[in-house]
Symmetry: C2
Subunit: 612 residues, 2 copies
């Protein structure tokens, strides 16, 4: 790879991305919001990520020659995980290579390494009882399945169910509990759901618990946002009369609705889902469980529970199988929750050659440093600026959002959905800020210069975009001039919000690195997580200081929604679930506010990096 950026156009959709020469098409596609199927983990083995190069040179690799025919190769078919970008190119992604409706949900590239879930279904043919073999119904099942526990409703129904099927049928066991005995052989239908409980976005995936295969994905805005857009405002609302129950019900109903959509997509019945695994930040998890979160809102921010919690899904108000299970992820601390544990798990962070950093950029930013077997984690209140809130023209990364801003003499915008721009989403905000800094329109101190103070060499097209609003405040307009309504623009206040959000992440990273005696340039890898993380330009994120500067940006890797990925892993494997518990205990929680240097570091981090 070189530092040369080349342009890649993706069809269908026409999205354009600029990526370093030498990068794999897979990663460029992810930047374009297209998540490809990678059941083999990008090893060039499964052939599921095939794409067609419609323009541009692209020699085939050995792996591609094995998996594709000469005709296919001739027609430009390649594997996205194998093909490196060696010049401007156009790529068509067939529907079959896409990870379901992957635009909003980005799962980790790493697939689960094993399928050995807590739920198992076993078809049995039991000997019918005789006078000489009067073993109890449950004991008769245990003779084939090993020791079982059973809830009262299952026990109450068991005698009837066993006899109805002539002592033949399918036992459903979840975490050692017999939860049903189904007529006939239903072992083919054994499903589970993994859920990422984000502060702003909920995402869920339906899994086949036999193969580990993904059957459906869905996401939705967390409707709790109407009670506040960050965790502290939710905690405050929970303290109001009836507030906690209101938040609990809102979250439960939203997750339940996601499960409905998963079932509709895959055309399966809810009753075939036997377990749900949920990962989210500490506050979201507790709110879903209806647990008092008042203490999370006050110093010293103590969570009620950090251990993983095994429940009946019905206790959470989730209508899967009536006696289905729910597992809520273990947490690390008050603001470092199950989503971070899931991230450490699904990236196998502690096993990577280190030091290595995991940064999950969300409304709450989480930062994890793994170094010589030690894992330290911190959280920092980035706020929802990167998700479009608190920015005057901010919006989520949906249709109409400016998600990419290119400075080339003037400003050129990429808009999601190829329609007139409506606002600015997080990745667009970062591009814009990086461009303004580089052009000298915003100073390292974050001052948006008025037109009269702009650098003399600035292209006129850019200079003309610096305006004053009717109140006399300076703004940088990115949309066309409009008289009907205020234009899409970045204000001085927006830059301040961005500084606060960026500084929060940056200070957290600095402190974790300083504590461990690691320079940012020593980092072997920086893994950027979060649905958001997949759409930002790494060099631009470095330019504004959001990601460590001075580090070869090729060491920065997108790992997608690691919270959802970790939830999937824990759903598919009890061993990995156990590992999550171990990781949660093993990770040291660094409370940034108790670090003597935090305030100073935070203030320093408010200054954007000097031009590279």
């Amino acid at each position: 790879m070189t530092d040369r950026q080349v342009r890649v156009t993706f069809a269908p959709g026409g999205r354009v991305v600029h990526v370093p020469e030498g990068e794999k098409v897979m990663e460029a596609a992810a930047q374009a919001g297209l998540t490809l199927q990678t059941p083999c983990g990008g090893g060039g083995v499964c052939g599921k990520c095939r794409i067609q190069v419609t323009s541009g040179a692209c020699p085939a690799t050995e792996a591609e020659r094995k998996l594709l025919t000469a005709e296919q190769l001739q027609a430009g078919w390649r594997l996205a995980c194998q093909t490196a970008i060696c010049g401007e190119m156009a790529v068509t992604v067939p529907h079959t290579s896409l990870f379901a409706d992957g635009q909003q949900i980005v799962t980790a590239a790493r697939p689960a390494t094993e399928v050995a879930p807590a739920v198992r279904k076993v078809f049995v043919r039991l000997p019918a009882p005789r006078l000489s073999d009067g073993a109890a119904d449950l004991a008769r099942l245990e003779q084939q399945l090993g020791p079982l526990e059973a809830d009262l409703p299952t026990l109450a129904a068991l005698p009837h169910l066993l006899r109805e099927g002539g002592f033949s049928g399918t036992a459903v066991v979840a975490d050692g509990r017999l939860i049903d005995f189904e007529p006939g052989d239903t072992t083919q239908q054994c499903l589970g759901a993994a859920v990422d409980l984000g502060t702003t976005t909920l995402a869920a995936v339906l899994l086949d618990l036999r193969s580990g295969g993904e059957l459906a994905v869905a996401s939705a805005v967390n409707p709790q946002t109407r009670f506040g857009d960050d965790v502290l405002s939710r905690i405050k609302h929970a303290a109001s009369p009836g507030g906690l129950e209101q938040l609990r019900q809102t979250a439960a109903a939203a997750v339940d609705e996601l499960i409905d959509r998963l079932c509709a997509q895959a055309a399966v019945a809810r009753g075939s889902i036997y377990e749900v695994v949920l990962a989210g930040n500490t506050t979201m998890q507790h709110l879903l469980c209806g647990v008092d979160v008042a203490a999370l809102g006050e110093i010293p921010f103590v969570p009620p529970v950090t251990a993983g919690v095994m429940l009946r899904a019905s206790e959470l108000g989730l209508a899967i199988h009536p006696r289905g299970a729910a597992y809520v992820f273990p947490c690390i601390g008050g603001f470092v929750g199950g989503d971070t544990v899931a991230g450490i798990l699904s990236t196998q962070l502690a096993e990577l050659p280190g030091p290595v950093l995991l940064v999950d950029i969300g409304t709450n930013g989480e930062i994890v440093l793994a170094c010589d077997g030690a894992i330290e984690a911190a959280s920092t209140a980035a706020g929802p600026a990167f998700e479009g809130a608190r920015i005057s023209c901010g919006m989520r990364a949906t249709d109409g959002a400016v998600e990419r801003v290119v400075f080339e003499g003037d400003v050129h915008c990429g808009v999601i959905g190829d329609r007139p721009p409506v606002g600015l989403c997080g990745s667009g905000l970062i591009d814009l800020a990086a461009g303004l800094l580089e052009a000298g329109i915003v100073t390292p101190q974050g001052r948006l210069l008025p037109r009269e103070e702009l650098p003399a060499e600035l292209p006129a097209a850019l200079a003309e975009r610096v305006e004053r609003d009717t109140g006399g405040q300076v703004r940088f307009r990115i949309g066309p001039k409009s008289t009907a309504q205020p234009p899409i623009a970045l204000t001085q206040a927006d830059v301040r919000q961005l500084q606060l959000a960026t500084a929060a992440i940056r200070a957290g990273v600095s402190i974790l690195l300083r504590r461990a005696g690691v320079a940012s340039t020593d980092l072997k890898a920086v893994l950027v997580a979060g649905g958001f993380g997949s759409f930002i330009r790494r060099s631009h994120a470095q330019r504004i200081g959001l990601l460590p500067e001075g580090l070869d940006h090729r060491r920065i890797r997108y790992v997608g929604n690691t919270s959802l990925a970790g939830a999937k892993w824990a759903l598919l494997s009890t061993r990995l679930r156990k590992q999550a518990e171990d990781l949660a205990r093993r990770t040291r929680h660094v409370e940034l506010s108790t670090d003597g240097g935090f305030q100073e570091t935070f203030v320093e981090s408010m200054i954007f990096p000097a031009s590279a």
Copy 2:
């Protein structure tokens, strides 16, 4: 001891019993319905069973000299467990030596050997969280208490409860589950209830789980009797629409009412009871749990569950502590249930020098033989004759019941409550039948002879009691002649009922002995259990064949309500609860109906033993 029977009168109450010379006052008192406190197990160590001998010679033993002063000894004070009866005597039992309201409930003489219950309360003073110590609430508790599980409602309330008490208070842990955190130090109040679920009678005891002490006892007729007086009729009713739920609710409400009475007696709140342990026959246990019992009513009589079941008490509809636990005893087979396991446990049957037999005489008779480490158990449908049902003048052992019949030239009756007799209870029935057999009024074949066939040497007073009713049927009248209403009398049909009930037990005993190659005279002990068992005269029970003939009747011991005793043990000790599970698995269930010789043995057992 000799075979000479001597008369002992007990005050208060004036009840008279005839016991073999040399027997301990303790056992004579038990026969008189007075259960004395024996925390030391009758070892002459605790001095709790002191009584006053008001008439009759009675030399003091060494143990008594140690525990009583010279003045006390002089005034006739003795220990009931030490003093042997050496002639007619009168004894006053002080209230303080009585086991609560022991008349109806007779608990095992053996107290629980240890107090290490599943419920523990621990007063803790936790360090308040600080920024430098941000452990989660549950983890903070675990630092002092070890690993805990917790239900959702407990987790939901924990943050508030901890902070309300300034991180000081009493943790309540039941079977490793944190079920509450109470303000202040409430460790003094830690209660549990043990319940015997009899087909006919329910009995319960309230225990202090710190000391093992009994705080209250209560009993009641099982209101399920209105749906049938034996288990088969209940099973039949359960199969009718809504029948199972009706039976479940009826049982739950009755147990709940018993718990109410226990709480009222001890003046404690229901919320201080944290666990209930229940033992009953297989059908009763399943009905209380609302589990389908249809299969128990059909060959091969397979129970749904034989393992012990751990539940929330609320699932059973029992209102103790809202998150309190309930443990339902393990069973052995379809008609050998938790009550038998409790009996094997509380008598430590398998540890006694053997062979040894345990006979629980109830509506369902259970027989257990322990021999050389092997335990075999069988059940036999004795029917409710010994509990007063299916006998023309039958009644339960309550006020007005003839509970003792003495043949001395004529018939003399002892009536419970010193009031005019109303009917005949089980022990009176056995006395009466034994007397009639001995006098030759009833033949070994069970024929009640008409007056014209009576032996010539029969006292006239007895002969006059043989009458014919208005239908010409022969009967033996025990009450005075009455013109107003039919007299209390035994009919030919009553004798047949008695034969059936006795033969059922006797055939079961015979078959178990035969299988093990043990002669009845080899038995080192016969333990007679059941509330009922404490009131029968052993030699009379032998005379009618209910208990093994030819065996020195001093080897027959009353062990009281061993079902309730076992439930207490399992409540007080997790080790003993575990032992109950082991015993249930270890005991071999002998299905009498599959024994080739059962029918023949049963028919043979219908013949009363020949005179000794």
